[in-house]
Symmetry: C2
Subunit: 251 residues, 2 copies
């Protein structure tokens, strides 16, 4: 199938799930992707890519590496791109095979769990934060935006290429945590202050900005912890709260 | 002048500076605004506002309070709105008079300083974070996006209405900090680990995500502090890094 058709198709989550492929947009993201171990299927390039020296250099690199490149016009490119100001380049790569079981041998284990977090920018920043603060994986539960959505990938600034990001059901995660003896804590603005020291292995769950985590996740939490906020102010952004907690709870 | 004309005009920073007015978009933001001490000049409402029960209730409240309301059609509304999916309501309010001098009596004093932070979403989240974590004000230096930009206001989730956000020159801030005996620390991914305890009064400066703070700010910093990140990962998002530092350095 033509790369343009594939890229357009991958705007839908169903197509990403079926094909096991995802899209990376923008020069910087693709530079990171090419340095990662991920399998790159091909690239779409629009004329404007060569307007910037960095874009030209990227195209040159990809050609010299023999990557499959489809050169398309601006209109075709826009029909496949998700971002508002595309830089004229997107790459199609294979979603790495990662599962909870591949984490079973990691001890101590630090996980970030996303429950019904819907905003792509927040989910991308959460992945970037989890990777930077040394979590071993981020696990997305149902109701969370697809972690392979192009906007999530863009906000995560390359975190996906090294940091395991995966979707599971709550039943599978719950069974895995029980089997591995990893306690789960839930982040909530009204939670107790952060205890010190934290247990060596820990799953930290964050929920939807409006409604928090789902009842099943809340019921299974060993603790509910939160960052106290000043009187009369809004709660913290979910990625900022997760960053403060992951940092404060680091082993 | 008609409210529609004023709202359109306020999309430009020059007009906001000249008029001393800014725009709040969306139902939730305006609910917060109406509960704040800020002076509301008027409201634009499009037909779709009453599509939601919460929107209808807001319109009813504003009518019963005798707020000046201009009812405009969808096309006119879109010509004034900055956000992509406007909810059919925007309010025009007066920028509160706030200056560095009004902070002189606050002791100990905690400030967040933004130096050349350009992304409106990040600046909004920084303001929300500073307010929630008890900073007394956020000071934006030249090169930072206007804190009264509608996208910044939207991302800050009401922080502007209670938390002083102001623009100053570096010379004015520098003189104020010297006069008040407040040390300034700079956040940088390669900074030293966070010391404990922090001084009671402190200004924490964060810079552009790409290039950091400007040379003058760096030269004036008493310390450069950072959050260590895992090998091979990107730095933290600027708002996440500021959140971790403000939390770790709280008095």
């Amino acid at each position: 199938m033509r790369l343009l058709t594939v890229a357009r198709d991958l705007r839908r989550r169903k197509a990403r799930d079926r094909e096991g492929l995802f899209v990376v947009e923008g020069v910087r993201g693709i530079e990171e992707l090419l340095r990662s171990p991920l399998d790159v299927i091909g690239v779409l390039a629009a004329p404007k890519l060569v307007d910037s020296p960095r874009g030209s250099a990227l195209l040159e690199t990809m050609r010299s590496q023999g990557r499959p490149i489809a050169e398309v016009d601006e209109k075709e490119f826009r029909s496949a791109a998700e971002t508002e100001s595309p830089q004229g380049v997107l790459a199609i790569a294979r979603v790495p095979a990662r599962s909870l079981d591949s984490l079973a041998a990691t001890t101590p284990l630090r996980l970030l769990v996303l429950d019904q977090v819907q905003d792509p920018g927040n989910v991308g920043t959460l992945l970037r934060t989890a990777a930077a603060l040394g979590a071993h994986a981020t696990v997305a539960l149902p109701g969370t935006v697809d972690v392979w959505n192009a906007k999530v990938v863009r906000s995560a600034m390359g975190a996906h290429f090294h940091h395991p990001a995966l979707h599971t059901t709550w039943d599978d995660l719950h069974a895995f945590l029980a089997r591995s003896g990893v306690p789960m804590w839930v982040a909530d603005a009204r939670g107790e202050p952060i205890p010190s020291p934290a247990p060596p292995s820990l799953a930290l769950a964050v929920g939807n900005e409006g409604s928090g985590v789902s009842p099943a996740v809340r019921a299974a939490a060993a603790r509910t912890v939160g960052v106290p906020v000043a009187a009369g102010t809004e709660s913290l952004n979910v990625a900022v709260a997760a960053g403060i907690l992951l940092h404060a709870l680091r082993p």
